[in-house]
Amino acid sequence: MEFRFTEEQEMIRDTAASFLAEVSTSEAVRAAMATEPGYDPALWQRVCSEMFWQAIHIPEEFGGMGLGYVELVAMLEQMGRRLFCSPFYATVCLGVNALLVAGSEEQQAQYLPRIVEGTTATLAWAGAAGYRGAASVELQCEAEGDGYLLDGRCRYVPDGHSAELLVVAARAPGSAGDQGISLLVMPADTTGIERRWLPTMDQTRKQAEVVFDRVRVPASALLGPAGEGGAALNRILDLATVAIAADQVGGAQQSLDITVEYLKERVQFGRVIASYQAVKHKCADMMLKAEAARSALYYAACIADEALHGSALGEELPEAASIAKAYCSEAYFFNAGNGIQLHGGVGFTAEYDIQLYFKRARSTEVFLGDSAWHRERIAGQLLDGEAVA
C-alpha cells in the first residue's frame, strides 16, 4: 500500500500548479468567463501544444501520454484551484472517457488522435429533469434505414455550444431508467443539431442546450451495442464524477487559502483578525473538510484507474465516486460559503475572488447529482435488498 503521489505525479501536479498560476490569474478568469465560449482559444491552443494536457490519459497507441486517472486528478485539482476556464473538462473527462469506455478500437483510433490534435468534445445526456445517472436521458433514438434518428433535447451540456465533437446518449421510445440507452458520436455541426448557450450563475463553467430536430446519423456513429449502453453511460458518468470532485477539492483548498491570507492582513480592534478564536476555529473546520475531501478524492482516483484497466477493485467505482462527490460538494460549499463570511463585507463584492469560488461550488455541487442524490445511492446499497454480513 502506497497511498500517496509518486515523485512523477508530484511533478505533474507542480507543473500544472505553476503553469496555471501564470495563465489562469483572476484577470484571465474574469476575461474568459465574460465571453460566450467561456475560454481563450489561444490559451487552449497553448495547453494542447505546449502542455499536452488533453492527451494525458489517452493511450499511447492513439498518440496520447498514456498516464492514469491519478495523474489526471492531480491536474484537475490544480485547475479547480485556479478556476481554470477551458474546454478541458468537457473534452477529456466527458469526451475522452466516453470513447475509452464505450468506443470500439476502430472508433478510438478515429476520434482520439483528433482530440490529441486539439479538437474539443463533450457529452450530451441529461434532459430537463436534471442529473439522475443514466436515468436522466430523455433524447429519443430510433433505428431508421441503415442509421439512427435522434429527436428531442439535452440540457445542461458542459461546453455544449462550443464543443466540436458530441457524444450523445439517447433512449429507445418507451424505455426508462438504465434500459434502452444508446451512445452515439457525431460532429457538432451535424445537420439538424441546434445548440444554444445557457447563461449560468457560475460563469466559469459554460452550459448549453442541444436540440436534435430529427437528426440522422449513420450506423457507424453508434458506440457499443444499440439500446444496451446504460451501464457504459453510468461508468462514464462515475468517471466524470471523480473528475469534478477533483475540481471541487482544488476549489475548497483555494477558498481556505485565500481566506486565511486575507485574515492575516485585516486588522480590527488592534489585532489581525486571524488571531481571534472564533475565526480560527472556522478555518480549522475548513481545513478538515479540505483534507478529508482530498482523501476521498485520491481513493476514488485510484479506483477509477483500476476501473479503466478492468481490474476487480474497479467494481467499487460507483461507491467511491458517490463518496467523493457527496463529500467534496459539501466541503467546497462549506469552505466557499464560510470564506465569504470570514472576508466580511469585501466577501460580498464582485472584486474579491471568493465569490467566484462560491458560485463554482454551487455549479459543481448540482452537476452530476447533488450530495443527497449520491447519499441515496449509497443508502440503497446499504439498506435495500439482501443484507450484507
Binding site: 500517496r4 485510484c302 441515496e376
Partner: protein, 394 residues
C-alpha cells in the same frame, strides 16, 4: 499511488487471522468484542490473561524493535494486525498504554537500565500501566500541572505529591507514568519531570469516578509522598515536557484502522436495526446512515494517506484525525438513538444496564473531550497548520 497490499503482507494477514481464530476461543470466548471504549472496566482478569496468550503467540508489541522483543513490524503489518484483531472481535487491549505509550517512550528516551527493567513486563503481559497526565487544573492546559516531585536524600528517591484525574484503569495498573514539577518555582512546561511510579505503595490512592454512563473506567489518583526511585525518572529533571510531548506523538497512527473496525461494527449494528425496525425506509434516516458510511470510509482513506507518509511536510491529514473521528463518532451515537426511536430509552436492566448502542451513544460525548478537546484541536490546526497567530494570553 497503489491501494493493494503486497503478497508478503497478505500472507502476514492470513497468519494473524488464523492465529486469532485458533486462540480467541474456549476460555477467551466471553471476552470477544468486550473491553472497548465504555466497557474498559469489564473482564479485567480475563483480558490480562489474554495479553499473556498474545505474548506466547508473539503478538504483543509487534511494532517494537526486535532488540526489545518486538517483531520490528512495518507500518503495513501493524495496520493489518490491528484490522484483523478488530475483525476477529479481539477484546480491548488492557496492555495498550504500556505497549503504545510507555514502551516507545522508554525506547526513545529511557536509559538502557530502564529498558531492561520495564520493557519485558509490558511485552510479556505481566505489568500494566496507566497515564498520569491530567489534573483538576491541568486538562487542556496540560502544562499547568501542580503535582510536585521532591528529591528525598534519606529515601534515595523522589517523593511525589498531588492529584491526577481521568486516569483510566488506574486500579488495575502496576505502574503509572506521572508528570510532576521538579522545580517548585517553575511554571508552564519548564521544570517538569517524567516519573515511573509503582501503584502498589502506601502513598497512592485510587478513587473511581462514576461517569454519566453509570460505569467507572476513569479514576482520580492521589499521590501523598509516594516514592519513585532515583533511577526511575525518564530524562533529566526539567525534561519532562519534552518526554511527554514525544509520547503524544506515539499515540496516533497504526491503531486508527483497528479503531475504525470497531466503528464499522457499530455502524453495521445500526444498519441491522434500521432494516429490522423500518427506519431504513425513513428518507431522512437513510441520508444520515449513508452519511455515516461515507464518513467512515473517508476516515479510512485518510488513515491510509497518513500511514503512507507525508505528501506534504506538515501531514495535515494527521492533524485533523482526532477532530474528524471524534465528531463522526459523536454523530454516530445520536444516529443510533434516532434509528432505535422510542426503544432507545429502554434499558436492558435496572439499575442502569445500557445496551451496546446506548453505551456507545453516551460514551461518545467524551470522545470530543479526552485527548485534547475539539476546541483545542481547532486551535492546534489553526496555529500550526494554517499559521494563524495565537490569541494573546491573559
Amino acid at each position: 499511488m497503489k491501494l493493494s497490499f503486497s503478497a508478503a503482507d497478505e500472507r502476514f494477514r492470513e497468519e494473524v487471522a488464523s492465529w486469532l481464530k485458533d486462540n480467541l476461543c474456549g476460555e477467551f470466548e466471553p471476552v470477544r468484542g468486550r473491553g472497548g471504549p465504555g466497557d474498559e472496566h469489564m473482564f479485567v482478569e480475563e483480558r490480562k490473561a489474554w495479553e499473556r496468550r498474545l505474548y506466547q503467540g508473539g503478538w504483543t508489541c509487534i511494532g517494537w524493535p526486535e532488540a526489545y522483543g518486538g517483531r520490528g513490524a512495518s507500518i503495513e503489518q501493524q495496520v493489518i494486525f490491528n484490522e484483523e484483531y478488530a475483525r476477529a472481535g479481539g477484546p480491548g487491549r488492557i496492555g495498550h498504554i504500556g505497549e503504545t505509550l510507555t514502551g516507545p517512550t522508554l525506547i526513545a528516551f529511557g536509559t538502557e537500565e530502564q529498558k531492561q527493567r520495564f520493557l519485558p513486563g509490558i511485552l510479556e503481559g505481566r505489568e500494566f500501566w496507566c497515564q498520569g497526565y491530567s489534573e483538576p487544573s491541568a486538562g487542556s492546559d496540560l502544562a499547568n500541572v501542580k503535582t510536585k516531585a521532591r528529591f528525598d536524600e534519606a529515601a534515595g528517591g523522589w517523593r511525589i505529591s498531588g492529584q491526577k484525574v481521568w486516569t483510566s484503569l488506574a486500579h488495575e495498573s502496576d505502574y503509572c507514568f506521572v508528570i510532576a514539577r521538579t522545580d517548585p518555582a517553575s511554571v508552564g512546561h519548564k521544570g517538569l519531570g517524567f516519573f515511573l511510579v509503582a501503584m502498589d505503595q502506601p502513598g497512592v490512592e485510587v478513587r473511581p469516578i462514576e461517569q454519566l454512563t453509570g460505569t467507572s473506567e476513569f479514576n482520580e489518583v492521589f499521590f501523598d509522598e509516594a516514592l519513585c526511585a532515583a533511577e526511575d525518572i525518564v530524562g533529566a529533571p526539567g525534561d519532562g515536557w519534552k518526554v511527554a510531548m514525544g509520547l503524544l506523538g506515539f499515540e496516533r497512527g497504526v491503531s486508527t484502522l483497528g479503531q475504525q473496525m470497531l466503528f464499522q461494527n457499530e455502524l453495521n449494528e445500526i444498519v441491522r436495526v434500521a432494516r429490522e425496525n423500518g427506519a431504513a425506509r425513513n428518507p431522512v434516516l437513510r441520508q444520515r446512515i449513508a452519511e455515516a458510511h461515507i464518513g467512515l470510509r473517508i476516515m479510512r482513506f485518510n488513515s491510509m494517506r497518513m500511514l503512507s507518509g507525508a505528501d506534504g511536510s506538515l501531514q495535515k491529514e494527521a492533524m485533523i484525525y482526532k477532530l474528524y473521528w471524534s465528531s463522526w463518532h459523536r454523530n454516530l451515537g445520536k444516529l443510533a438513538m434516532d434509528v432505535l426511536g422510542a426503544e432507545s430509552e429502554i434499558l436492558e436492566a435496572a439499575p442502569y444496564q445500557l445496551s451496546r448502542l446506548q453505551s456507545m451513544y453516551l460514551f461518545t460525548r467524551s470522545d470530543t473531550i479526552y485527548g485534547g478537546t475539539n476546541q483545542i484541536q481547532r486551535n492546534i490546526i489553526a496555529e500550526r497548520a494554517l499559521g494563524m497567530p495565537r490569541e494573546p494570553r491573559g
